[in-house]
Subunit: 338 residues, 2 copies
């Protein structure tokens, strides 16, 4: 099987191959459900949905359901497809609102939606997709799913506001950072997996295992992202290095370096990240300090720990090709750092 031939090379591709019919159905449902007589809505939503690319979160819903024995569209089952679409709509809405929040001109190399259409349209089309997600959930009819995804949505918003507050605040500690990461990133991974278990009518133990898997995977994912922001590998991928630094974001590599730094170093960090008074040379110095204090390596160590937690969570499920893909995705998530 493809995912066993090249498990580390392309675990997402392997998973996509396993649930191809389901994912095709998700892509069709996305297009159908983001339609509106107001033409700007499908235009703008289509732009960001197309840029989204990997469909990692809806894939987690599809894979979780399949691993738990839910048959898929080939056997006429559609709940997981509709709910995976909800997950992607919620994710897309947060991306659109993030573009406003971060005043980011570029997202994944393409022009961000707000750079093309303006903040106003990004906010409103995000609201539309968010509402559409809830309409789809209502059609599905499960109050349990509605509870999971409405809770996830408010936790995401709390995480994003918490990130806003910790930005430019060098007093931010690891616990506050972890809270932000759980909210803004990991909660939707967790909910996406849990919902797959709900449609497959799993017991509480397995539902919680899926949630734990998604939460740990999401944290590992964000930790690696925050590591990569200071990695030369980022440059090789055509992305800029040090965006978080320039935006004054307090991510784990910085938090650890700050805590371990001398008073002189703390003064440096405060000038750069609180006062936002930065020169071209400051990023290189910041990266030297992070290396000197081992904070980049330690960020990856934490990512690996969370990766191990994610793998462990899947132990309650019997081996299967889909389960193997979900395990491989954990490794891929951590190893993209190298």
């Amino acid at each position: 099987m493809e995912e066993n031939q090249k498990p580390k090379a392309a675990p997402l591709d392997a998973l996509v191959a396993l649930v191809k019919d389901d994912l095709d159905a998700v892509n069709r449902t996305i297009v159908e459900r983001m339609d509106s007589p107001v033409a700007l809505i499908p235009q703008l939503a289509g732009h960001i949905v197309a840029a989204g690319g990997k469909r990692l979160r809806p894939l987690l819903t599809l894979a979780s359901a399949r691993m738990c024995g839910y048959d898929g569209v080939a056997e006429g089952q559609m709940r997981h497809v509709n709910l995976a679409t909800c997950v992607e709509f919620i994710h897309t809405a947060t991306l659109l609102h993030d573009d406003v929040v971060d005043e980011s001109a570029l997202r994944r190399g393409k022009q961000s939606a707000n750079a093309v259409w303006g903040n106003q349209a990004s906010v409103l089309v995000g609201d539309f997709l968010f509402s559409r997600a809830f309409e789809l959930m209502v059609e599905d009819g499960s109050l349990k799913v509605l509870a999971i995804l409405s809770r996830a949505s408010s936790v995401i918003a709390e995480g994003e506001v918490a990130q806003l507050i910790t930005t430019n605040d060098t007093d931010t500690d690891e616990a506050a950072y972890l809270g932000v990461v759980q909210g803004k990133t990991a909660e939707l991974f967790a909910a996406a997996c849990q919902v797959g278990g709900v449609v497959a009518e799993q017991d509480e133990t397995r539902e919680k295992a899926l949630r734990d898997y998604g939460m740990a995977l999401g944290i590992a994912f964000q930790l690696v992202d925050d590591f990569l922001d200071y990695s030369a590998k980022q440059e090789a991928l055509g992305k800029t290095v040090g965006d978080d630094f320039r935006e004054g974001k307090l991510t784990l590599p910085v938090i650890l370096a700050f805590q371990r730094g001398s008073e002189e170093e703390k003064t440096f960090w405060r000038r750069c990240l609180e006062d936002m008074d930065q020169t071209d040379a400051d990023l290189a110095h910041a990266m030297d300090l992070m290396r000197a204090h081992g904070s980049l390596d330690e960020t990856l160590t934490r990512a690996r720990d969370y990766g191990a937690q994610a793998r462990a969570a899947l132990e309650v499920f019997p081996d299967s090709p889909v389960r193997q893909c979900l395990l491989d995705i954990v490794d891929f998530t951590v190893e993209r750092a190298y």
Copy 2:
């Protein structure tokens, strides 16, 4: 009874008096449910909720439920209170997102939330309140209510995007304008009333009557708002005249004047509203043109027509103090133009 002594003077006050226990419970629920460990959320949400003042939309839910025989908190019933809170949260979220959209520095004379805390926080706290509204609906447990309010939310977003598209477009016709008004304003009035009927377990006829009442009232409300933007009365209320003109919004008074205008007048409207090339004297000239073509009066005539539709919708309900208040609110909505 108070509402019969001074029906025209303060119909909202009369309604507030009738459902005072319920409204107090709504205000408590608002404060409880906008709380979060992320302190900025209740701070910012509290600012906009306090500025909201009238609580017109949740009052419509409370009044509709009461008119249909739902007893209220005094008898231990809380569903209408929780759902009225949802309606207010959805409304508040749209206000927060509107502040971003309109780049408005002032809302109701107070500084807008985004002027104090920035666009980023306004977007995210709006998202939080929106999610909280859905969490509350899930606790209520009615899929019917969830369907009504998730549908309303996406219709509102569509209406707001449609307004964005019609701004600066003098080709906007009355039908397009009405679509915007139904979406951005009237849909939530309609849903607020309908939900009151759902908790009171009304039949389809009465539920539809409540929805029709809210829709017609909401359209009348927005028509009068759009009239008032060009009225000297606006100035007496301490608001500026001509905000819509300066923002290039195509509201009914302008649409009718444009359609009835000479080619020279059309050129004037295009310069002011499409090219956004305005001088201080242009607003006065615009108001002269609207008066000359009777478009301000005609806007009020339409508002009265919708007001009559709203009143007619309530004919299926037996007379009661609450019903009388709902009728008086229609008159008050139209008559605040004079």
